[in-house]
């Protein structure tokens, strides 16, 4: 009798732990997906804003190209495709954890998050990942508009899409780890608004969201490539628009994986050190 009962108990735990983890993380992920889609007005508003922003950029770039066949080796349609996509994806580099960390710290929510029986970083990452997926869904109408009004051209080769998708996911994870490390500053400063804005300013310039990095002078390109922001905007979109040829995909992925490994380790180390500084002031 004892053996019969004992055997399942020794085998099941691992499966049970995995299953429990999957159920828990899936539930957490679905909450943030639902809350992102709940605010319909806010979504339409963002659509309107992005469309205005995109329109301003498209006309600007048309004027820039007036009478010039190529600029820094890029033709007008290539640059326009790139700019339409980069302005669409720009919000990806403008959501930063530091504001969330600052809020959690002030409200005392951080203590509750740390008490949950799931890994804090994985939990937040899943929230961000579903945020990425839901915001990608919301971009579809915007890209249709861009196709209709501004002649956006997207590649038909599924391999290019695959290269883009993997690169975007890797870039998103890289930005997550960077944002995580940066957000740990909130544990020391408690003030976050200025730091957040500083990060946005840096991201706008060096991610390639407003101008293809290949148009920049060499020294500025070096600066941009040594910062992580370009990994989530310029690198994937350059693959999608053909600025980076498909044949270079393996190298691009490899560089991104290196970034990710480095920043992941670093972010966990920094969090481990910084969390000791935290004093929850109630809530």
């Amino acid at each position: 009798m004892n053996e019969v009962i004992a055997r399942p108990r020794t085998e099941v735990p691992l499966i049970r732990i995995i299953r429990r983890a999957v159920v828990a993380y899936a539930a957490l992920a679905s909450i943030s997906l639902k809350s992102a889609l709940a605010y319909v007005t806010a979504n339409w508003l963002e659509f309107g804003l992005q469309f205005l922003w995109m329109a301003a950029f498209v006309y600007f770039w048309r004027a820039v190209y007036a009478g010039r066949p190529t600029i820094a080796g890029l033709e007008l349609h290539q640059t326009l495709d790139y700019i339409i996509l980069s302005t669409t994806f720009m919000p990806l580099v403008e959501r930063f954890l530091i504001v969330e960390f600052g809020w959690m710290l002030r409200e005392g929510q951080l203590a509750i998050e740390l008490l949950r029986p799931v890994d804090f970083q994985i939990n937040i990452y899943l929230g961000q990942l579903t945020g990425l997926l839901s915001s990608l869904l919301q971009k579809v109408p915007l890209l249709l508009f861009a196709w209709f009004f501004f002649g956006l051209r997207l590649p038909s080769n599924p391999l290019i899409w695959l290269a883009f998708a993997v690169s975007l996911l890797l870039g998103h994870a890289i930005m997550f780890c960077f944002g995580w490390t940066f957000a740990c500053l909130a544990f020391y400063t408690t003030e976050t608004w200025g730091l957040y804005k500083l990060q946005v300013g840096l991201a706008r310039l060096t991610s390639g969201a407003m101008v293809p990095l290949t148009m920049m002078p060499g020294w500025l390109q070096t600066v941009c490539q040594s910062l992580p922001f370009a990994q989530v905007i310029f690198v994937p979109i350059a693959l999608l628009t053909g600025i980076t040829p498909l044949s270079q995909t393996p190298q691009v992925w490899a560089v991104q994986v290196l970034w990710l490994i480095g920043l992941l380790g670093f972010s966990r180390l920094i969090f481990h050190l910084a969390i000791r500084k935290v004093t929850i002031q109630g809530g």
């Binding site: 205005l52 006309y59 820039v64």
Partner: protein
């Protein structure tokens, strides 16, 4: 009028004192907005170094346009940004009743309730841009031109404030007016470049519907000695009309206000 000027002085002084209480926070905020504008200007530089001119405007002329936008926007934001939050911050919470109880004009009270200190960074960035570009362009700042510059920054700020006010009033009907204010304001992206690069529909819209072209394009044209005719002075009228419409709408909305009931 004199009384309100005095009140305005006291409110501003109070806000400044509170800001300087948290000095590191204050300077970091100012510095970070300065950096954001710096990165925007770097992008313009990256693009303009590839081409000699943008539809006949050179790099420094575009900088002058951007400087005017930053200055006017920052000035309106420092003093009147609270118009953005009337819906969520006052009407929805019932806090608007507090303003109605005071023995001063509730619109005035709403406006002076906040002082957007960080935008001092934007104001500085704008002034630096105007300074750099005008010296590169060899613009001689005669007293008259300086007066015109001051007038256009003030006019531009009033135009921004006018559009905030008109959209903020909708809060009396729809409660959350913030998104509407934001969408209207976002048209500022267009006037950061000379508006003659846009099709005529957008140009007319920026002149007569959401008249942000009077913030940058027309004053810059005049300062640069380009022929802009009456439009160089039209901004003052436009700003006054916007404020007048906003004020009338404000009274209509105020009559409709019925508090939260909580």
């Amino acid at each position: 009028m004199w009384r309100y000027l005095k009140l305005f002085y006291w409110f501003t002084l109070l806000h400044l004192k509170t800001s300087l209480e948290y000095r590191a926070d204050f300077f970091l905020g100012v510095f970070s907005l300065f950096c954001i504008e710096g990165s925007a200007v770097t992008v313009v530089w990256v693009i303009m170094r590839q081409i000699s001119n943008l539809n006949g405007w050179n790099f420094n002329e575009v900088l002058l346009i951007q400087g005017l936008v930053f200055m006017a926007f920052a000035l309106s934001a420092i003093f009147t940004n609270n118009l953005w939050s009337i819906g969520n911050g006052y009407i929805r919470t019932g806090g608007f009743d507090r303003l109605l109880l005071r023995p001063i004009d509730p619109l005035f009270h709403l406006v002076v309730d906040r002082f957007e200190k960080n935008n001092i960074g934007n104001l500085l960035a704008g002034a630096v841009l105007v300074g750099i570009s005008s010296s590169a362009l060899g613009i001689a700042w005669t007293p008259f031109k300086l007066f015109y510059l001051g007038l256009s920054v003030l006019t531009g700020a009033t135009i921004f404030t006018g559009t905030y006010l008109i959209t903020a009033v909708t809060a009396f009907w729809i409660i959350n007016s913030h998104p509407l204010t934001f969408v209207v304001f976002k048209n500022v992206e267009f006037v950061k470049y000379p508006i003659d690069i846009y099709p005529s529909v957008i140009r007319s819209m920026l002149t007569w519907v959401i008249p942000y072209a009077f913030v940058s394009f027309y004053p810059a044209s005049y300062i640069l000695g380009r022929d802009s005719g009456l439009m160089a002075w039209m901004g003052v009228v436009v700003a006054a009309v916007l404020l007048f419409i906003g004020r009338r709408l404000w009274f209509i909305g105020l009559r409709r206000y019925a508090s939260t009931g909580s």
